[in-house]
């Protein structure tokens, strides 16, 4: 069935189509941490993965801000689990990547690999 569209939505469509969603560094790290297949991804596990891989602590609020952006872009979906006592009765929110998210992560990873090919030819000399 064709969606009902008329010229009232013209400017909205132009605005939406004109926006290109690029991934930031933290967004890409969060997306890759969610894609890792060995676990159910939620805030704490994502934060630990990033800290272990990058050696830097990331605030949980920043992780959730990135998760919100990724979910809004359609790269993730979330579902709420059961409430737990050790969390003060709060439930975990689990995240899964969508096919669009996996495609975007692959694309970003390939782009970084291509752009980073020059690094292997560099010597470890300080810039003058």
């Amino acid at each position: 069935m064709q969606p009902y569209l008329n010229d009232r939505y013209y400017f909205y469509i132009v605005e939406v189509m004109g926006r290109r969603e690029y991934l930031g560094q933290l967004e890409l790290m969060v997306l890759l941490a969610v894609i890792r297949p060995s676990q159910d991804a939620y805030g704490v596990s994502i934060s630990r993965d990033i800290a272990r891989s990058s050696g830097r602590q990331v605030a949980l609020a920043s992780v959730y801000a990135a998760l919100e952006r990724l979910e809004r872009k359609g790269f993730l979906v979330s579902c709420v689990g059961e409430p737990r006592v050790e969390r003060g009765g709060k439930a975990r929110t689990y995240f899964r990547p969508t096919p669009a998210g996996i495609k975007e992560a692959r694309s970003a990873h390939a782009t970084l690999m291509r752009l980073g090919s020059g690094l292997s030819t560099l010597k470890d000399e300080p810039a003058r």
């Binding site: 400017f11 805030g43 605030a59 609020a61 737990r84 439930a91 975990r92």
Partner: protein, 191 residues
């Protein structure tokens, strides 16, 4: 026995960090605290969460209001300049019809502009609207303002070309210019 997390920090999180998955964020912080994190860590995470909320709110309000104010200001300035230009033209052609001095016209335009800009700054968009709807509403309002300016200018231009009500003769710009030169003693043909 695990000590309780800082109650003030928990209260701040519950009170101010609302929105996307805020319950899960609080649960994650409590889970990490239960697993051996310190109170300093808990406070650091709380401050980071509050900072993000403040930055997001400020960015949202600033960008939306700034765009609205700039658009409204440009439209109102264009309207004021056009009214002033047409009033000058009309007064020049029909001097007895428009007794208002320049200062009154410019002052009125400035007062209306300042009032409308203040309304634009203080007016709040309705909450609980989708982001795209808000943006398209803003765009429609901007277009409506520019359309109103254009229609108003066209109407005033049309009015200035019609006959002068206070004089029986038509407002012919060329004759008005000639009569003006004649009354001031200057030669009408430039010699």
């Amino acid at each position: 026995m695990t000590p309780e997390p800082p109650q003030l920090a928990v209260w701040l999180l519950k009170r101010f960090v609302t929105g996307y998955r805020s319950e899960s964020l609080l649960g994650d912080l409590l889970e990490e605290y239960e697993s051996g994190r310190t109170s300093a860590w808990f406070w650091r995470e709380t401050i980071a969460a509050l900072f993000l909320v403040v930055m997001r709110t400020a960015r949202l309000l600033y960008s939306r209001r700034a765009a609205r104010v700039i658009t409204t200001s440009i439209a109102l300035c264009a309207l004021a300049v056009e009214i002033e230009r047409l009033s000058q033209q009309y007064r020049y052609l029909c001097p007895s019809v428009l007794p208002l001095p320049d200062s009154v016209i410019v002052g009125s335009c400035a007062a209306v502009s300042v009032t409308l800009i203040a309304i634009a700054i203080l007016h709040r968009s309705p909450r609980h609207q989708r982001h795209g709807t808000r943006k398209s509403t803003f765009l429609r309002r901007s277009i409506a303002i520019f359309a109103a300016v254009g229609l108003g200018s066209a109407a005033l231009s049309w009015a200035s070309t019609t006959s002068c009500p206070a004089q029986s003769q038509a407002c012919d710009p060329s004759s008005a210019v000639i009569s003006c030169f004649e009354s001031s003693g200057a030669p009408s043909d430039g010699r």
